[in-house]
């Protein structure tokens, strides 16, 4: 665990840069994490996904999978990959300030 400062807010992150405590997050923090990960600007479509991720995590205690995102966030899977290249579920979780989706065994 280490502490980094985003937009003037110190937050704790794990070894891969996921926030340890979702309560330390705010929109500016999200924007800065996005920029660090190659997303220059968060559009409305990005926010739809990020907000869905956060709500779903805060409600269920787990981050949704990519298929759930594709079915329920209002953004189809194809677009998720263009918004959050490589691993949308992982990257959107990071931007949303929630823990890394727990790959089940």
């Amino acid at each position: 665990m280490s502490t980094v400062t985003y937009a003037g807010t110190p937050v704790e992150v794990d070894a891969e840069g996921f926030l340890e405590d979702p309560a330390q997050w705010n929109e500016q923090v999200g924007e800065q994490i996005a920029a660090e990960n190659g997303i220059a600007e968060l559009t409305d479509r990005h926010w739809m996904v990020v907000n869905y991720m956060r709500d779903s995590y805060l409600e269920n205690g787990t981050a949704p999978s990519i298929r759930t995102l594709g079915k329920a966030s209002g953004v189809p899977i194809k677009e998720l990959y263009s918004l959050f290249p490589k691993g949308p579920a992982k990257l959107a979780a990071k931007v949303a300030g929630i823990p890394k989706p727990r790959g089940c065994i």
């Binding site: 787990t62 999978s65 990519i66 298929r67 759930t68 079915k71 329920a72 899977i77 194809k78 998720l80 990959y81 290249p85 490589k86 691993g87 727990r102 790959g103 089940c104 065994i105």
Partner: protein, 419 residues
């Protein structure tokens, strides 16, 4: 209180639950099990069919015959659960009222969730081995497959038995070697995960094993489309992998009646279930077991077996008017067939990832996370164990439902990484 117990599904979980409850209650409970047919398939046997190591006839038995005397078995397809009315409606129009319902309907294969996959499967450019018909068709195909690119693709987690695609690659390596054509065939395992497996220590070990057998590993590949005519897999981020023979493990979801039963399932049709008590989120008298649940555990027969303990105890507690106890810890173990008459064993739970060591005891046990002939023998012995101990719901000395750290060697690198 009357005890009408209704169980949907007479596979691994439904059968062992019915047998345990019957032993517990005898005639004091009326137990009914519903399934769509009377063919109980020993699913772990499917892995061996494509390589002619198992005969289809040897892995199917009557469902009814696996149930103790006194249990009612009804053949029919469930259409939906009316949770308010506490009854289950079948497609043939019949209705079953319950006091306690157990959903043990497993998972379904959804090739239609991947563009082009159903067409590729029906044209014969893609194959599978998760159903008996597919496994037999693949066996015929492999007989004449002498050269080219064999691609094993797991489309997405969760799947039943997440080690099965790896085992398939290892056995294919052995099979092609025996036939003298291994050098003419390239084998690639294409996975959406970032390694060979979900958890770090096992992922590293299994990754090394793939390498030593010259099986290529393509990671973080999220399959968006299968183009059967051109023979290629295409990912959502537009990477392409050409194949001559594709073996695909499609997306899994819950049984479709779950989605038709208001409030029972999540978006994928898995029953929303408490990971420790196995009680459903929707009603206190509905429980779920095995692959049908949304538990973050392995979809495996072994996990289903260990869940059986917690499930039956909590059904009993429910009838006694007590709160359920959260005793299930995510325990599962899996033999991983690695070819050339060897296998490897992993044992883990929600918190502890697969570690090296021995199972079940440090001094006398099967080696964990290491190839051995003994593990291969044990994997073969699992089939008689399945029919004669697991399904009847017998307790096995030394094999606890909860995971034990006895015999495991925690390595400093994996402490705390399993979350």
């Amino acid at each position: 209180m009357s005890k009408r117990i209704l169980i949907i599904g007479a596979g691994t979980g439904g059968t062992l639950t019915a047998n345990r409850l019957r032993r517990r209650y005898g005639d004091r409970a009326q137990i009914t099990v519903i399934d769509a047919d009377d063919r109980h398939l020993y699913q772990p046997g499917l892995l061996f069919v494509p390589f002619a190591l198992a005969d289809p006839d040897d892995i199917v038995r009557s469902r009814a015959k696996q149930l103790r005397k006194g249990i009612n078995f009804h053949i029919g397809e469930v259409d939906r659960v009316d949770i308010e009315a506490e009854e289950v409606l079948l497609k043939d129009g019949s209705r079953f009222v319950y006091d306690v319902l157990v959903v043990a309907s497993g998972s379904s294969l959804l090739p239609e969730e991947t563009e082009g996959l159903p067409e590729a499967l029906s044209q014969g450019s893609a194959f599978g081995f998760y159903t008996l018909d597919e496994a037999v068709a693949l066996r015929e195909k492999l007989k004449g497959f002498d050269s080219g690119h064999l691609v094993m693709n797991m489309v997405e987690m969760p799947i039943k038995c997440p080690v099965a695609p790896l085992e398939f690659c290892f056995l294919a390596d052995w099979f092609l070697h025996e036939r003298g054509v291994r050098s003419e065939v390239e084998i690639t395992y294409v996975t959406p995960l970032d390694g060979a497996f979900t958890k770090p220590v096992a992922s590293r070990e299994l990754g090394d094993l793939l390498k030593s057998k010259d099986i290529r590993l393509e990671t973080e590949f999220a399959t968006g489309q299968v183009d059967g005519d051109a023979g290629k897999l295409i990912s959502w981020d537009e990477r392409e992998i050409p194949f001559d023979l594709l073996v695909s493990i499609p997306v899994h979801g819950g049984a479709d009646f779950v989605s038709r039963s208001e409030g029972l399932g999540d978006e994928l049709g898995f029953v929303m279930t408490d990971p420790h008590t196995l009680q459903s989120a929707v009603a206190p008298n509905i429980f779920a077991i095995g692959d049908a649940t949304n538990l973050p555990a392995s979809k495996a027969g072994s996990a289903t077996h260990f869940e059986g303990d917690t499930l039956t105890a909590n059904i009993e507690r429910f009838f006694d008017g007590e709160e359920p106890e959260g005793t299930y810890d995510g325990h599962a173990n899996c033999f991983i067939e690695t070819g050339f008459h060897k296998a490897l064993l992993i044992d883990f739970n929600y918190e502890v990832e697969p570690l090296p060591g021995r199972y079940p005891f440090a001094r006398v046990g099967l080696p964990l996370l290491r190839e051995s002939r003994l593990n291969h023998m044990a994997k073969l012995a699992f089939q008689p164990f399945y029919w004669h101990a697991l399904l009847p719901g017998r307790d096995v000395p030394g094999i606890g439902a909860q995971m034990s750290m006895d015999g495991k060697q925690p390595t400093p690198s994996n402490q705390g990484e399993s979350e």
